[in-house]
């Protein structure tokens, strides 16, 4: 019998509040937590807004060493990881460590710390030859983001397969897909997975500025990210993390665990089109959706809710609307679609996992969070995007998608476990 991967623990660090409960409150109330950047002086930049997390590492229980040594993204991962471990109810000390794995998503790793250290070592960019006398001892751990997977592995005592999955803005979906594969193939019984990102530093802001992907609605930061709206003008960067405990179904049942849902299908596709551009037909995203639905053995009509990528760029929202129609046919028009980036911004490699958490809570609570800031629908985006206000609905299967630089298109089908025929 095939091994199925279910989610039994959630942990969240998101704009608007630490913890899964605060995150759900924000989503279900349709509030937006994007604001003018406070982490640094963003006044020289085109887009000056972000979804920032109010994060006090001391209050969150990190040790002075962890605070000194770890990039903010790694700190997020530990805090969300602890919440997820606790939420799962697993006594990790009692598990066989060799059966615990880690698959962590991140798009840009420890960029914030790297940039901070660059500024010191180069004397604000004055010198190409970086001064070796001004480097911190843990610089190498910022240099390669696998250090963050190692931190998470140490947290839970994992000795099974561990890695970082880094596929840009789909990392948070792809890491969970990777984790589900580890469980399905029998390499692990429990995998700590999810995504983390703390990219809010000048270089990241400029990256999106120069290609004009980010919103310039700096006078109204709370309402800047407007997925599927006629007036949308780009994404709003963000930070955050979501960590999930993925577990083999029988393993979870044997200990009477609370099961949020199942990773029933996952697929990723390259679009072979452009490193940052999207073809308006959405063919490759549609291929990924079809493959994920095939793997989950669900018919399009079984999908009760679509969690959109909804980045709020002109091209993205058209691209995925086309993909949904291509894959779900007429059912796409009857399926509620919403985008969380309208509320928490786009946290690159973390957002896919944050969206999974929100989608699972939609099962749990029987509520579909809305697309905030959607007042003036784009006539070319003609699906039901659940504007402004959450909606009660009994959903049994969710499709969540992601799309990112490099041409990555990913889709995942999450399903309530009650449906599983044994």
């Amino acid at each position: 019998m095939s091994r199925r991967a279910v989610i039994t623990g959630l942990g969240t660090v998101a704009p608007g509040g630490i913890g899964t409960k605060a995150y759900w409150n924000l989503l279900s109330e349709g509030r937006s937590a994007t604001r003018i950047i406070t982490h640094f002086d963003a006044s020289p930049y085109r887009s000056r807004m972000a979804g920032e997390v109010d994060f006090d590492p001391v209050r969150e229980g990190l040790s002075p060493q962890e605070i000194r040594r770890l990039d903010r993204a790694a700190q997020f991962a530990l805090v969300a990881g602890r919440e997820a471990m606790h939420d799962s109810g697993i006594e990790f000390d009692h598990l066989d460590p060799s059966r615990i794995g880690v698959a962590l998503g991140t798009a840009v790793g420890c960029t914030t710390s790297l940039e901070r250290e660059f500024v010191v070592g180069s004397d604000r960019g004055k010198y190409w030859e970086i001064d070796q006398n001004y480097t911190v001892p843990h610089l190498y751990d910022y240099f390669t983001p696998s250090s963050m997977a190692a931190e998470v592995a140490w947290l839970v005592g994992a000795e099974g397969p561990a890695t970082v999955v880094s596929t840009g803005c789909t990392s948070g979906l792809d890491s969970v897909g990777y984790a589900a594969e580890l469980i399905a193939e029998g390499s692990a019984d429990v995998v700590i997975t999810g995504g983390t990102e703390a990219p809010l530093s000048p270089i990241t802001v400029v990256c999106f500025d120069v290609i004009r992907a980010s919103s310039t609605r700096n006078d109204d930061p709370e309402h800047a990210c407007r997925p599927f709206d006629r007036t949308r003008d780009g994404l709003v960067l963000a930070e955050g993390a979501a960590i999930l405990v993925l577990e083999e179904l029988e393993h979870a049942r044997a200990r009477g665990a609370h099961i949020y849902g199942e990773v029933a299908g996952f697929a990723s596709r390259c679009n072979a089109y452009h490193m940052t551009g999207l073809h308006p037909e959405g063919k490759e995203m549609s291929d990924a959706i079809n493959a994920a639905m095939d793997m989950a053995r669900v018919d399009p009509t079984a999908i009760g809710y679509i969690n959109a990528h909804g980045s709020g760029t002109k091209q993205n929202d058209l691209h995925e609307t086309a993909a949904f129609k291509r894959s779900l046919g007429d059912h796409a028009y009857r399926t509620p679609v919403s985008g969380f980036k309208s509320m928490i911004g786009h946290s690159l490699g973390a957002i896919g996992s944050l969206e999974i958490v929100g989608s699972l809570l939609a099962f749990e609570e029987g509520v579909i969070p809305p697309t905030a800031n959607l007042h003036d629908p784009d006539p070319e985006c003609d699906l039901d995007y659940v504007p402004l206000v959450a909606r009660e609905a009994n959903v049994n299967a969710v499709l969540t998608v992601g799309s990112g630089f490099g041409g990555f298109q990913s889709a995942m089908v999450l399903r309530k476990v009650e449906e599983v025929r044994r």
């Binding site: 940039e115 604000r124 190498y140 190692a150 000795e159 880094s166 120069v210 490099g406």
Partner: protein, 404 residues
């Protein structure tokens, strides 16, 4: 179970470009560690590295690709071209949705990133390249390969420091098992710029010696760290059925087993390398006695060398299997290292020769290793075990064997 065979190998190594040149140098033990030329190393205590010589990206890639790519991406794209050519894959031979691209990364396009960071901080935001958003991030090589070859199947990137090169191939094999026909996989890495170099120095793992013949001495009593290098291997991995559709396709060997584990931080627990190797053997359905050579991780750091020697002895017995580390010629290639070792193991099977380990003179006797020193060993190689470890505790192992 779907089988996975290697039909194309693209190599960029400090001691050779392409599988033929690389293999010739490697069998003859030609080392390529030298004083750094890619930047001025005079301000750094570590001054040597394995650089890929004679690589002129403009001879292989269209001009428009140059401003948008870091050196490591250029190496990757050219290596992929060579691998596909070697495999005899023509455009439209295989439906685009049946091709996956799975690569490994460690630090992304770091030199590109340093240049853009310098522009941002020294000149201002208007000077930053529009390509920065993707040229330096970890996912770039998979994206660029996919675009260059029009592949529309699954894409992924794994980062597990120096174990990632093997993990990428393992993940590519998963894609074949899920129904994809062919995967372009492996890693090519390069981080030879001042901004990367201070990170390498900070790792505490670089050798303090700047004598190219004495700096990187794994398993030697004088082991004192490693030398960094650039390059790696990209391979064409496909199902035998897919290869059979192109008559005359050469099958170099088969990826028979793969596993990865992570080390506990608790000193009471054994490091995960031995278990990793055993899991890979089990995955291949093979016994240790069927392995003709081990390509060691060969960290060059005494504690890690000892741990690896213990793992090898525990599985194969004292002096129980020939062990080699051709990376003593090139330095360690980070995301490219594991995949180059897998490629080397496959070439070793193909050419019935075990390439040597160089520079090592005094193997620590307690390690009880049969290290293949200085001269190649000729004779049939039916199967090889390749080991890799990444900083923090990542272990990966791969079993490759003759395809029959």
């Amino acid at each position: 179970m779907t089988r996975a065979v290697v039909t194309g190998i693209g190599i960029a190594s400090p001691n050779g470009l392409g599988p033929t040149a690389y293999w010739r140098s490697t069998v003859h033990g030609e080392a390529a560690i030298k004083t750094i030329t890619r930047f001025d190393p005079s301000g750094y205590w570590a001054k040597i590295a394995g650089e890929v010589p004679g690589f002129e990206a403009g001879r292989h890639l269209q001009g428009r690709l140059l401003p948008q790519t870091d050196h490591m991406t250029r190496l990757t794209l050219v290596g992929t071209d060579w691998a596909l050519r070697g495999a005899g894959v023509q455009e439209n031979d295989i439906p685009d949705t049946d091709v996956a691209v799975i690569t490994a990364a460690t630090a992304g396009g770091y030199e590109f990133g340093q240049r853009e960071l310098q522009k941002l901080w020294h000149q201002g935001p208007d000077y930053v390249s529009a390509y920065q958003s993707f040229a330096w991030f970890y996912a770039v090589n998979t994206g660029q390969i996919s675009i260059r070859h029009g592949t529309r199947g699954p894409g992924a990137v794994v980062v597990s420091e120096q174990a990632g090169g093997i993990d990428s191939i393992g993940h590519a094999r998963r894609q074949l098992r899920k129904g994809v026909r062919l995967a372009l996989t492996g890693g090519m890495d390069s981080s030879l710029c001042p901004w990367a170099w201070v990170a390498h120095q900070a790792s505490g793992s670089l050798s303090r010696s700047n004598d190219p013949r004495r700096a990187y001495l794994p398993f030697d009593r004088d082991a004192s760290g490693y030398v960094a290098g650039e390059g790696g291997a990209i391979m064409v991995l496909e199902t035998p059925e897919s290869a059979a559709e192109r008559p005359g396709t050469r099958i170099y060997g088969e990826i028979a087993g793969y596993a990865s584990t992570f080390d506990s931080r608790m000193p009471s627990r054994e490091p995960g390398l031995r278990r990793c190797a055993e899991l890979a053997l089990r995955d291949a359905g093979m016994d240790a006695s069927e392995i003709d050579v081990v390509f060691a991780d060969a960290a060059g750091i005494p504690e890690l060398d000892k741990a690896e020697a213990n793992a090898i002895s525990a599985i194969f017995g004292p002096y129980g299997v020939p062990v080699t580390a051709p990376k003593t010629m090139t330095g360690r290639l980070f995301a490219g290292g594991g995949s180059l070792d897998v490629a080397t193991a496959i070439l070793s099977i193909y050419w019935s020769t075990i390439p040597p380990t160089v520079n090592v003179e005094n193997v620590v006797p307690e390690y009880e290793l049969d290290l293949v020193l200085n001269e190649p060993r000729h004779g049939r190689v039916r199967a090889a075990l390749v080991l890799a470890r990444g900083r923090g505790g990542f272990n990966s192992a791969m079993v490759v064997r003759e395809y029959r």
